[in-house]
């Protein structure tokens, strides 16, 4: 005789339910600055790259509309301060948004534990059976885990939902990380721009992309050379496209006017 599925599992068996919520948890934990490198550093390196590309694109296009160095410098500088505020606020907001979602998930899991203890017990059995526990040992393990509410919640959050505990930086800290990343890129780019008006900003922004890519790859223990070259290459691709397409449009409008 087939056992009817409890409503908690929503027409799935226990392992199906575990797989579904685990996938949900994985998505939740990877959307924003992940756990492999500190959120502050991830925000800083991301923001540094974004800022560098933004400056590169603006510089590539502004030369078509602004014709004096001072005006161009002022325009890019003021624009990048606004950009810094955006990156700071946006990064912090993403962190808060993520935290809100995690809190909602953990509250929901707590409710499940309090109101569907038998189903939670079944889920634990499936999880620990898959780890090689069976028979009386499995029952004992599940009994021990079920005994302490806080410990049970930790196990369910980590093993069922696949979430990590005590590993995220505070959203405000992430925002400040992003602001620092922006600021350092601005500093490098504008110093180069001031020193070498012709190509300084290009050099500064590409150096920032290279530096932040190196830092991120180093921290994640990835290969640094491909990381630097790929990121610089993507930046150059975007910048070149803007420059040459505008060049094309200018030429086109001149010949057809």
């Amino acid at each position: 005789m087939e056992t009817p599925h409890p409503p908690h599992f929503k027409d799935k068996d226990a392992i199906g339910h575990v797989a579904e919520v685990q996938a949900k948890g994985m998505i939740s934990s990877t959307e924003i600055h992940g756990t492999e490198m500190p959120g502050t550093l991830a925000a800083a390196t991301d923001a540094a790259k974004d800022t560098a590309v933004m400056l590169l694109l603006l510089w590539a296009s502004s030369s078509f509309f602004i014709h004096t160095f001072t005006s161009e410098f002022q325009f890019l500088f003021v624009f990048s301060i606004g950009w810094l505020l955006w990156k700071f606020g946006r990064s912090a907001w993403l962190g808060w948004s993520h935290l809100e979602r995690l809190h909602r998930i953990v509250n929901q899991e707590k409710w499940e534990i309090e109101h569907h203890r038998e189903q939670e017990r079944e889920e634990l059995k499936v999880l620990y059976n898959a780890k090689g526990f069976s028979g009386k040992l499995l029952d004992d393990v599940v009994d021990v885990l079920m005994a302490d509410g806080d410990r049970l919640l930790r196990v369910m959050v980590q093993e069922e939902l696949g979430l990590s505990i005590e590993c995220y930086d505070h959203p405000l800290k992430q925002g400040i990380g992003a602001a620092i990343g922006c600021f350092l890129t601005m500093l490098a780019s504008f110093l180069c721009f001031y020193a070498f008006p012709a190509y300084g900003l290009l050099i500064g922004s590409l150096a920032s992309i290279a530096g932040s890519s190196f830092l991120a790859a180093k921290y994640e223990q990835n290969r640094t050379v491909p990381a630097i070259i790929w990121n610089v290459g993507i930046g150059l691709l975007a910048g070149s496209f803007v420059y040459f397409f505008l060049e094309f449009l200018r030429y086109f409008s001149l010949t057809h006017s």
Partner: protein, 667 residues
């Protein structure tokens, strides 16, 4: 019984990560944030308010010079960002629930001000409003910790004795009535039950406030929350965790807290009416003024401009600051004297009280037992030798009476006595042998029941009579038996210094003074007579205390002063709950409105005076604030005074109420 292999290792238990988060629900204790990162989330609303205040000052300064005026707008935008967005979110959410209140009025006024060129005024409104919100958050956070310590006292695990004799730890939620559980020495009883095996002393100080352990043996009922001091007890569970004694107390505190904020509800109701009236009037003026006053709808002389000016001028800027600043000043003045007020509004409630009730142990008395003396039951005895023996036996015991004996003997410089074969009989007392001049004699110390079993019939009757006499006088007793000589040591709770003067001062104010205690009649009568309280009630359970407190609070307004967990529901329900900070249990401190940090009960009279003074200043401030609103809003609507003058008058009211409130700091 054998410990099962399934029992979890107790050596390295993982610290709880979710408990605090669920209790407080705050970002600063989020289990997902790194521990060193959590402090970033503490008091964020307050930090944002402070930052917004500084930015507003900066914006005001920069706006004075034409060249820096654009920069002042940058700072102003930041002010609106920090202080305005939270208000805007709250207002939109409340509006979507069709809940129109003063928050919406303030937000509407602040954001509307931008459209008539008074962005700075709007910024000021938002900053004041943000400060007010931050204070509210702080008070709410404090209130949320109220039940935290009660929950911490309540164990979440119990050691279950399985049918095969193995032990396993289970969540108390999974334990049903009839289950057998084991309580080891030093553990807190997790569930109510009947003793089926073992004898031990259980201290119920956290439940009853009385610091005297009670002997529990087969057939006795042990309440959850008591601490098992000596031997192991095996209980058959009689109540599930949802119905346990501790859960009942937690529920009583919850109910009491929820039923309390009458004043808050009154303010909410008033603010809702005020907000709705002002918003409706503004809309009405904007639409109808051109029909009566021959003015256009648009332009600086138009009805929309005047309606917005009216909305800003009528926004309760001074009203919002009038009450909190007065309470804040009073709170600071009290803090200087070691009195912690949880929200200044409790002073208002204190000023309305006409009765005060005291708990006995730990409040009228210090809660520490003191040895009153030693006497020989019959014949001649050697008092110094007896005290030496009592000291030698009690120096290793964990019991309030043991501490009292040690203090008493130490103060009398009694020579040391050597004893051997020391043994503790859980729930009864201690025994040992004494070697004097080559002769060995047994010695016993403990409660009268314990010693009675070792006496001949003739001595038994004498001891029982004397025991009854001492207990009738409200004192406690320990009996020492050396050979055949019986010694009686009597103890009593010590009165708090200066308590008689405090009671006299309260009576002079014509306040009703009552003592409510869980202790027995004789002890209550003795203390009541000594401190000068005529009206007292003894043998009260927490729910009895709560009933008395509820009635007195309704009839006259009651200030309840206590310290134990058993007082927590009454402290929460009373018009004002006052708790002793040093001796008070965590739950009582959390449930109370006022905490006497140094247990300085002698400051009670000063506190009542301060409460009355605060009430007077709050009334003056409300009058001033309402006056300022009327003076500013009506001429602004009629166009009789320019907007800048209306705003100056409006803000002048704010400054005045601030200065008036600061007078409270001088006390």
């Amino acid at each position: 019984m054998n410990p099962s292999s399934a029992a979890p290792p107790s050596s390295t238990p993982a610290p709880p990560v979710f408990e605090e988060f669920f209790e407080l629900g705050q970002e600063s204790v989020s289990p997902f944030l790194k521990i060193d990162s959590r402090k970033w989330g503490a008091n964020l609303t307050l930090k944002a308010s402070i930052a917004a205040a500084f930015l507003l000052v900066g914006s005001f300064v920069l706006s004075r010079f034409p060249v820096t005026e654009p920069l002042s707008y940058i700072l102003l935008v930041l002010v609106y960002f920090l202080a305005g967005i939270p208000s805007l979110i709250e207002s939109v959410e409340e509006l979507s629930d069709f809940d129109i209140n003063i928050d919406i009025l303030m937000t509407l006024a602040a954001f509307s001000s931008v459209f008539i060129g008074s962005g700075l005024e709007g910024g000021l409104l938002l900053v004041l409003f943000a400060f007010s919100g931050a204070m509210e958050d702080a008070v709410t956070a404090k209130a949320k910790t109220a039940l935290s310590s009660l929950h911490k006292l309540s164990p979440t695990l119990a050691t279950v004795v399985q049918e095969d004799g193995n032990l396993i730890e289970r969540s108390v939620k999974d334990i049903s009535i009839g289950t057998t559980i084991l309580i080891k020495a030093g553990q807190v009883v997790p569930l109510d039950g009947i003793v089926i095996e073992g004898i031990s002393s259980v201290n119920l100080v956290h439940l009853t406030g009385e610091n005297l352990p009670i002997r529990m043996q087969e057939g006795d009922t042990v309440p959850a929350g008591g601490r098992n001091l000596e031997g192991a007890l095996t209980l058959r569970v009689t109540l599930t965790s949802a119905d346990s004694t501790l859960s009942k107390i937690i529920n009583l505190v919850t109910q009491a807290q929820e039923s309390r904020p009458v004043l808050q509800r009154w303010f909410d109701k008033l603010s809702r009416g005020y907000a709705l009236t002002i918003i409706s009037l503004s809309a009405l003026f904007a639409i109808t003024l051109p029909f009566f006053l021959d003015i256009p709808w648009r332009g600086v002389e138009g009805s929309i401009y005047r309606a917005v000016a009216f909305l800003i001028a009528a926004s309760p800027c001074a009203l919002i600051i009038a009450i909190p600043i007065a309470y804040l000043s009073a709170v600071s003045a009290c803090a200087k004297k070691g009195i912690l007020l949880k929200g200044g509004i409790t002073l208002d409630a204190l000023a309305s009280c006409q009765a005060v009730s005291f708990d006995k142990t730990g409040t009228l008395t210090t809660g520490n037992l003191a040895c009153e003396g030693i006497e020989v039951l019959e014949g001649d005895g050697d008092i110094d030798k007896a005290l030496g023996v009592a000291y030698a036996m009690e120096k290793n015991a964990v019991h309030p009476i043991a501490r009292a004996i040690l203090n008493y003997v130490q103060s009398r410089n009694i020579p040391q006595v050597q004893i051997k074969d020391f043994k503790s009989i859980p729930g009864y007392g201690l025994e040992a042998t004494l070697n004097t001049l080559g002769q060995t004699e047994p010695v016993y110390i403990g409660n009268p029941d314990y010693i009675l079993s070792k006496l001949p019939a003739s001595q038994k009757a004498v001891l029982m009579d004397r025991t009854a006499q001492i207990q009738e006088s409200g004192r406690l007793l320990a009996v020492l038996l050396i050979g055949k000589i019986v010694y009686l040591l009597s103890f009593e709770d010590t009165l708090r210094p200066g308590i008689q003067d405090t009671i006299a001062a309260l009576k002079k104010r014509r306040w009703d003074v009552v003592m409510l205690t869980g202790d027995h009649e004789a002890s209550a009568r003795r203390i009541a007579n000594e401190v000068g309280i005529e009206n007292y009630h003894a043998d009260l359970k927490p729910e009895d205390k709560l009933r008395y407190v509820t009635n007195l609070s309704k009839e006259k307004g009651l200030a309840m002063i206590g310290d134990g967990i058993n007082d927590a529901p009454a402290l929460a329900r009373a018009t004002v709950g006052i708790c002793m900070g040093k001796v008070g249990s965590g739950a009582a401190v959390d449930a109370a409105d006022i905490v006497l940090l140094h247990d300085s009960i002698d400051l009670l009279d000063w506190l009542i005076e301060q409460a009355k003074k605060t009430q007077t200043i709050v009334r003056q401030n409300v009058g001033l604030a309402v006056g300022a609103i009327l003076i500013a809003s009506i001429p602004a609507l009629g166009g009789f005074v320019p907007l800048w003058l209306a705003v100056v008058m409006h803000e002048g009211g704010t400054v005045l109420v601030g200065l008036n409130a600061l007078r409270l700091l001088r006390t």
